[in-house]
Amino acid sequence: MARFPADLKYTKDHEWARIAGNQVTVGITDHAQSALGDVVYVELPAVGRSIKKGETFGVVESIKAVSDLYSPVTGKVIEVNTALPDDPGTINRAPHTDAWIIKVEVTDPASLNDLLDAAAYESFVATQK
């Protein structure tokens, strides 16, 4: 299996986005979780909050590091993964699936335009070494 699923889009801040119509599910990539190490804390935004592309919407912390979460799109938070604060390690175990963080209703479709595909993100990660 490819490290970065082809059906997701990616950002240079190491978030992924699964686009389904005007609804986008957001998480952090396998590369991000690996760089962080064991995740022990997740701070989620309030449902209903409006977020802009590139804006901080939450925080994940490993033992060694604090990392902001940046929204890949502009829209409104319609759902958050309430299982994560009780089991933050999900982010290490299943970053691209079970550990989705928020769902956003997109209000600015243009904000989807410059997201990276899997191949482009993988190349970007390779330059980060």
Binding site: G37, V40, K64
Partner: protein, 369 residues
């Protein structure tokens, strides 16, 4: 250019994630911090601590000099014994914490923190030059470049190390050491000391012998559950014990009494550098105290986060270290609090990114067997 220990290539082979630690290129983790931490508590952890500084103090007046240099009573150390201590400046602030090993009546090994080695050695030379006796009947040499130091810690540490040496390890008590050989011919100081709260040893060998000793310990230990441990696990292990870390709990501005080092500060032993201001601070009453706490609510309190009263209104201190405890699975930390808020059970808040998170002063060490 970062400095490298003799074990640099071993860390690369073990997929260590290398970072800049005070000018040294060292692994922050190998398999993962949590995994390494638990391995050290349940089996054994292997640490490269060669970045630590080693200073030889030798000569007829070596004991008298050291006793003037540090806060603990060096005269109490027998040959073959080690002692934890602190070294202060003229204002009573801590220059470093350190361990002194007495190798003979007139021969000591002083082990100091890596990032402080140059500062410490300069301080020692300065104190030595003002020590009174012309030229001083002792010598001071910085031998840091000649030592590889490997720590092997955890319940299986003694068993693993014993397989490399004929020196019987069982009779060596905690904070004592023996000088012997490992792997047949390599001279080694085998010290039952450490920074994890576990039984274990710190092994001092010639710099260039590091790789073969490291590999042998790894090969013997790995089937028993030993893991190489990075700086990340070293930090969480020491924090579960509330062992202080220079730069976090200790600094040139903190005096040893408020830092909880009263047990190694012997005000009745005669004069030493910093004694007068420490005595004055004690007589005036300590204004702040280093305490252990746990967060009642979720979050991690990190170094430098401000601390407030429980109602969030009044600033009463600052966090020096904090982490999620891998063994306790709770959020723990250490903070300086004003003395009147430092009693066990006192509730207070930590400002975490603008939110006041509830915390409570608890007894330490956090982790007990």
């Amino acid at each position: 250019m970062l400095k490298r220990t003799a074990l640099f290539e071993e860390h690369q082979k073990l997929n260590g994630r290398l970072i800049d630690f005070g000018g040294w290129e060292l692994p922050v983790q190998y398999s993962g911090l949590m995994d390494e931490h638990v391995a050290c508590r349940t089996a054994a952890g292997l640490f490269d601590v060669s970045h630590m500084g080693e200073v030889h103090v030798e000569g007829p007046d070596a004991e008298a000099f050291l006793n003037y240099l540090v806060t603990n009573n060096v005269a109490k150390i027998a040959v073959g014994q080690a002692q934890y201590s602190a070294m202060c400046n003229e204002h009573g602030g801590i220059v470093d914490d350190l361990v002194i090993y007495r190798r003979a009546n007139d021969r000591f090994l002083v082990v100091v923190n890596a990032s402080n080695t140059d500062k410490d050695f300069a301080h020692m030379q300065r104190v030595a030059s003002g020590f009174g006796k012309p030229a001083g009947a002792f010598t001071l040499t910085n031998e840091s470049a000649h030592y590889t130091q490997i720590a092997i810690q955890g319940p299986k540490a003694a068993e693993i190390l014993q397989s490399l040496t004929d020196t019987p390890l069982a009779p060596i008590k905690t904070y004592w050491f023996a000088e012997g050989k490992v792997l047949g011919s390599i001279p080694a100081i085998l010290a039952r000391t450490g920074y994890t709260g576990e039984d274990g040893f710190e092994v001092y060998i010639p710099w260039e012998k590091g790789p073969e000793v490291w590999r042998a310990l790894y090969q013997k230990g790995q089937p028993l559950g030993l893991r190489p441990c990075g700086l990340g696990a070293r930090d969480t292990l020491r924090l579960e014990m509330k062992y202080p870390l220079y730069g976090n709990e200790l600094s040139d501005e903190t005096n040893p009494l408020e830092a909880g080092l009263g047990w190694v500060t012997k005000l009745d032993k005669g004069d030493f550098v910093g004694k007068a201001p420490i005595v004055r601070a004690k007589e005036a009453g300590l204004r702040r105290k280093l305490v252990g706490f746990r967060l009642v609510d979720r979050g991690i309190a990190r170094h430098g986060y401000p601390v407030f009263t429980a109602d969030g209104q009044t600033r009463i201190g600052e966090v020096t270290s904090g982490t999620q405890s891998p063994m306790l699975k709770t959020s723990i930390g250490v903070a300086y609090l004003t003395a009147e808020h430092a009693a066990e059970g006192t509730k207070f808040t930590v400002d975490i990114r603008g939110a006041k998170v509830l915390a409570e002063v608890v007894p330490t060490p956090f982790y007990k067997k």
